[in-house]
Symmetry: D2
């Protein structure tokens, strides 16, 4: 019997290509942390936002668990307890996991040890990518691509979590004091774009070679009634009018669970907004800055987006409406790659603006399986499927998302009360 | 200028008709309470299940608030604090409301005083229905119909809440020891019914004169992929197989929030199931009874329904799939009118069985507004619209529902963890 | 061998005497409930205040558990689950107990059934008292006396708990609208009484035939420095000055745990005080009444008593100081027997006033065992001993206490934050 | 009028003496931290245990607040927000304080910045000690001595808190792997020492020049009945017998609040004990070690100490009993100065052993004011007085206490459920 050759010409190029991706994406995680001091790496100020150190380790655990342990012969784990410490929520790997609310309670392993862990994984992944048998390559490649997308998701979380942690500190430290800022101005007028609806298709197509998550499948038909979509997201200036009109006091504007949340937490404005002597300032990754009315409103919950829409006599778009519009436009905008790390005012232009980047846009769609959806078997099947309840879909990506991670079919999802991501919204209305 | 006559011949008949409905439905609430002792009327064993006394008063408050105070000149309120005590959750009436978790903490007003309140309302309603100006009649009639449907909803809650309260008592008292029971048997085989899907219409049509809630509107088109639907709900016998196969221990079967719920509450079986020496018994409105494998499984959460479906390799139907099938069938089945107050084994037959009655069926659809939905203005607009988040749709009605209250377009909704209603489920699958 | 005769002449008189006590005390529990409607019997508005029905049953359970089951041959329990339902906290009886926070969640047994239970116990107790062998009589008598004192304690709780439950109702119903009230006036001046201290003895003497609880034993020597004691408790009028001076806002006046409690609950005044347009009214067993400055302040926590004392530059007395003064005075005052059910203004007079009755007086002593204290063996030993931690001693009895239940050596105890008993305080100071 | 000279010969020596104390004690805090990595400084794994960084800053804040700001002219605060961040609980300083449960949520100021803060304080204190006017010196000296004792208390907390934080980490890291350990052995027999009791004096005498806290004053007379005291604390070996005899399952042994705590937390052994395959190991500052039966049992709550005493048929000593015995013996033992950082087996000997050092000993006395106690005026009066409720007194010092910080009159106090200090206990019994 003949051994399977480790590679052939075709896959050599593929392997080289994927390895460059791997190196680039792995390096970016560490670049994001260059602006931290060691004390910052362990912070967990709220349950949902993890410490930077945990993110750095967890994304490495992902490769170790789904690639190195099953597929690299002779692979030696870096530390026997790390599979327990850095598993997030995968029940089927069998290791259990350290409780999420206590991720910030571990001073050891140290930051240096976590970087050692990363480099251990990097070296092993280099061997796996270069040397795995050709018969394994499709599996390796598929899981590697999931792993890289997974790491990009955690890069976004790293940014949003750092912002959350720093905003909790009464000193309001800056992650990067040198970030650029947009000139303060007023929003330009919002335009409405009309669409006929009818029968359309949404979801990611299979077999194209482009990456997509299982929750974007299968591509399927939907019927839409005629609708209109705002050409850009709602801005801080417009949101200030909602506040000034008593938006947070008028129970009639709110969903029942939303109103309960407003009262429980005493919400008076989006997360990170602070009023002092009648002036609003907001916490950014560059520290406190004056509120810019021209920027998209950001860090709002679904409840706030919905209440604003009700106040406006409009509604949020469904994810199908959003996708059918967005699919006709290129994936371009204010992503993490541009280095602003903050939403920017919409540039003038016709047609829909800021569909991609700046802020994730809450839709009025619950996060549910598409017709015919099947989760992958095994622990990787827990990636998306088990969250299909109680969460709402967001679309488009934000200023903290990697451009290559965004696409028209991408379904992000969060609980309706969550605000710490870069989340805004765009209005829609039914036309009949 | 000529006074509007109080009625004309046409509306006289309508008024008489509605008044008979009013009398009949009001009387039924009190008939349901004939099996209670005074001590039972004040019970609130869990936050979500209200005391019988509160239900009796609240449905009366509804007529007082939306009909008598605005529309009956000279109406004298029965007690000035009752608008505060017996408002449920209507923020816009301005009275505020006694906290829901504390409804069981009020010994006064007494049961007798609550009945006096009811009779005071009854007398005033009789006057309003008989004597209101013809120009008011359309408003009176519309609100009266809502009020009567509202009372029917609370009749169902009265039954389910009493069951909840009695099951909390270690003596497991019977609400009615004289209820009939079905012979214990095995479920007959489950059959699959195939449907082509395509473009269909769901929702209640306007202008038919039939009653429907705002959340059933507007009627609109949906596109469905081909699917199959089980001909009957899942039974206790089938659910026992799920339990026996370790269903409650296999994390891979569960939604993430569902698994957290299972662990938090230590769920091992549906609500009201009790195991003793290997035998399952269940709490019913007639007290403890042996589990009947042939009956539809009941008192399960959405999480349990979804986990069972995953275990079966199937899924729950969407509400559109359910409605498009159900709309072709008459509204008949085991309703409260039949007096069983418990689900019964499916009768043999072709085509879908038990679509209506027996158990509410969890669907895989989140409770969201239909395209073009608009809530009514004012406090009545809070009836349905403000709950359109975090809840799942159930269809079909149960053994505690009035037959005339059920219809194919009816959308019931509950939080996914709630189990105290008569809730079961039917499986579906995608066919492509 | 000769049978022990059931009684002799001496014990015949004793038995008759105790049986009269039994009948009188049992009847008084039921008299207290004559002012209730059936709905009131099941109320538990806060965890620490039990439903009247529970009190009626629990005191009966006490006789059943400690007298009838062990000592009356052939005794048939009234209901096999009542030992579980109506045990309060005795771990060693082996039955377990229904959770205290859920005592209000049981509509069954009904009120009528609980009275049947009482009468069943009464009849069996009559047999036991009349017919038990002479050799058992000392045990029977000793436990009977504990049982009767126990029932008297629960009579006081019945009153204070009903007040608590009714105050929770926004209708503020009256337990008895016909209670007398004292003329509104100003408090007469407070006088200070000086004592030399020195070596004294406190605690109940053994072998006198008078009833006392184990926690009053053994009588023992204490050394006291010279001190002074106020001649009467602090009044509402004086307490109003404390409030007016910002007592509830000045953190420096409060114990650390007290301040945390004030902020957690938003305390601004004693329990049952309500301010409306600058006037204070208080909830009483006769419903809402204007505050009477001349009455002793009531329903304050230890924290409030201590803060008031700090504000006054004084302190609370120790229990030894209180007892050494009180022991020289007769047990007379405003007890439940007088039928006021509310504290009254102090009558003019020399020497200490209101030591007994009106309000329990917080002392500065923690509830701890006296030197040489031993709890009784078995479940009865749980009566007092296991609570000797985290509670403070109160002395003197209140307007809800039976006169014959009060004595100078009596040690009552509650957690420092508890306010629903009739609790006030008297100031002391050190003299050196 | 003549200026007060900055010093005279007498105070020059005093100033030099106090400055050497200051330097030595300040240095010791930093020496304790030499074994930490930067990540460790920010840990707060439980609310009651603060981060090392916070301790280092808070003790510096104490000098700044009570000495430098009021008494050093021209003193410039290091950072305007530090008075808010590093105040512990002093309400009267006016700055408020960062919430205690969130001390671990601040990555900034960094560890380096906190050390800068310390050095800023050190330099200013050197100026104040050297140059303050002679008229200020008594105040400076008195507050300085409080400040130094305060820092020593926090040195002990630093050690106990680090142990708590490291024990929370599943890797069980060692604070110092190089700590010595005692040979494993069996405890030598416990001896009982008898005392006559009678009238005695406890508390710190005034005017001796020795340091004491306000809560040790005034010295006063107490009367004690005859008693006996164990010659050494209870050991691990003896405590194992309690466990083996079902100590944690026998409700009759426990105080009511203690039993509730045992069940709530699932306690089966002292804090830091871990059983594996029948062998007990304990977490120490050197990491996990086998349990040594000869060492004093440590890290027990008051509830456990009391339950053990009940099981033994004994009791805990009162603080007066302990002090009257201890006052006759030199303050010598296993203190932090010896560098063991762990309790050691008692050395053979006559008379009481290990009164000082090794483990704090729970007494049966509630922490209450001595007769005639007055708290100091102003914020410093909050140091001890406001905690005189709900806590129990401990005596003698531990292996984490500085030898010069211990004395016979010293009153330590903790809540009865707290276990993370080095706490053990010694038995007593009444002799009559």
């Amino acid at each position: 019997m003949q051994a399977t050759p480790a590679s052939d010409d075709h896959s050599d190029a593929e392997r080289a290509h994927r390895f460059r991706d791997f190196q680039r994406i792995r390096a970016f995680s560490e670049q994001l942390c260059e602006h931290l001091v060691i004390e910052d790496y362990g912070l967990q100020t709220v349950v949902e936002a993890s410490p930077p150190k945990w993110h750095l380790a967890h994304v490495s655990w992902f490769y170790e668990t789904f690639l190195l342990r099953p597929l690299l012969p002779g692979y030696r784990v870096f530390h026997p307890r790390f599979e327990y410490l850095f598993n997030s929520y995968y029940e089927q790997t069998g290791s259990g996991f350290w409780p999420r609310p206590e991720r910030g309670l571990l001073s050891r392993p140290t930051v240096a040890e976590v970087y050692d862990y990363r480099h251990h994984i990097d070296a092993a992944m280099a061997r796996l990518i270069a040397d795995c048998p050709a018969s394994d390559w499709p599996t390796v490649e598929q899981r590697l691509r999931i792993g890289l997308n997974h790491e990009q998701q955690h890069q976004e979380l790293l940014i949003t979590d750092i912002k959350r942690h720093f905003a909790h500190n009464p000193l309001r430290p800056a992650y990067r004091a040198d970030l650029p800022s947009s000139p303060i101005g007023e929003p330009d007028p919002l335009q409405w774009l009309s669409f006929d609806g009818g029968l359309g298709e949404i979801g990611a197509a299979s077999g194209t070679g482009d990456f997509s998550y299982d929750n974007e499948h299968p591509r399927h038909r939907v019927f839409l009634e005629p609708f209109a979509l705002a050409d850009r997201p709602i801005t801080n200036g417009e949101y200030l009018e909602f506040i000034a009109d008593g938006g947070y006091e008028k129970t009639a504007l709110w969903l029942s669970d939303g109103w309960a949340t407003v009262r429980q937490h005493g919400w008076r404005a989006p997360l990170y907004w602070e009023e002092q002597d009648g002036d609003w300032r907001i916490m950014t990754l560059a520290g406190m800055r004056p509120l810019n009315p021209a920027e998209p409103v950001c860090h709002v919950s679904y409840y706030e987006a919905d209440a604003f829409a009700t106040w406006s006599g409009k509604r949020l778009p469904t994810e199908a409406e959003w996708e059918l519009v967005a699919t006709a436009h290129p994936v371009a905008g204010n992503f993490v790659d541009g280095g602003w790390l903050h939403p920017r005012p919409a540039a003038a232009g016709d047609g829909p603006r800021q569909l991609f980047g700046d802020v994730w846009e809450w839709t009025g769609s619950a996060y549910l399986p598409y017709p015919g959806y099947r989760a992958a078997p095994g622990a990787l099947g827990e990636y998306n499927g088990k969250f299909m309840c109680n969460q709402m879909v967001l679309r488009g990506g934000s200023c903290a998302t990697s451009r290559e991670h965004a696409r028209a079919t991408y379904r992000n999802f969060f609980y309706p009360q969550e605000r710490w991501q870069f989340k805004g919204f765009r209005l829609a209305e039914s036309r009949s």
